[in-house]
Symmetry: C2
Subunit: 83 residues, 2 copies
């Protein structure tokens, strides 16, 4: 059983209206000094087939989970989770 | 200038239809062994007011960024980013 955490973020320069909205709300609520907010995705997978995990996760990200045109992704693989 | 990464995840037991859809799509695409998928949010803040950052981020999460009824949050604060 392997747990994979995938962080998907918008590339630099890609407009993030959701982040802008959050930044505006934080300022309205009185939180000063918030310069920039970017909103991304965090996908946690549990995989029970441990062969060649890294290549498969890479392919999952490129094919389905992220949009490589506008998004970057990185992942961490936690092996050895006993169930 | 401080960078804060906030990870927001659904609590255990809360239904995640988006995760279920992703799991179904991965299986349809031929990725075997995907047992569970949970989709959360990753919010990256840049803050230029360095006073008492941890308490303020905690308050931002509780008041706006996360829904404490169904979501957990954790954050990492990276200090000392020079601009």
């Amino acid at each position: 059983m392997i747990k994979v955490s995938i962080h998907i973020t918008l590339k630099e320069g890609v407009l993030d209206p959701q982040g802008k909205a959050v930044a505006g709300s934080l300022t309205t609520l009185g939180f000063a000094g918030v310069e920039d907010v970017r909103v991304g995705k965090l996908i946690e997978l549990t995989i029970n087939d441990t062969d060649n995990v890294e290549a498969r996760v890479e392919e999952m990200c490129a094919k389905l989970l992220a949009n490589p045109v506008i998004e970057n992704y990185r992942y961490t693989i936690e092996e050895g989770i006993v169930q």
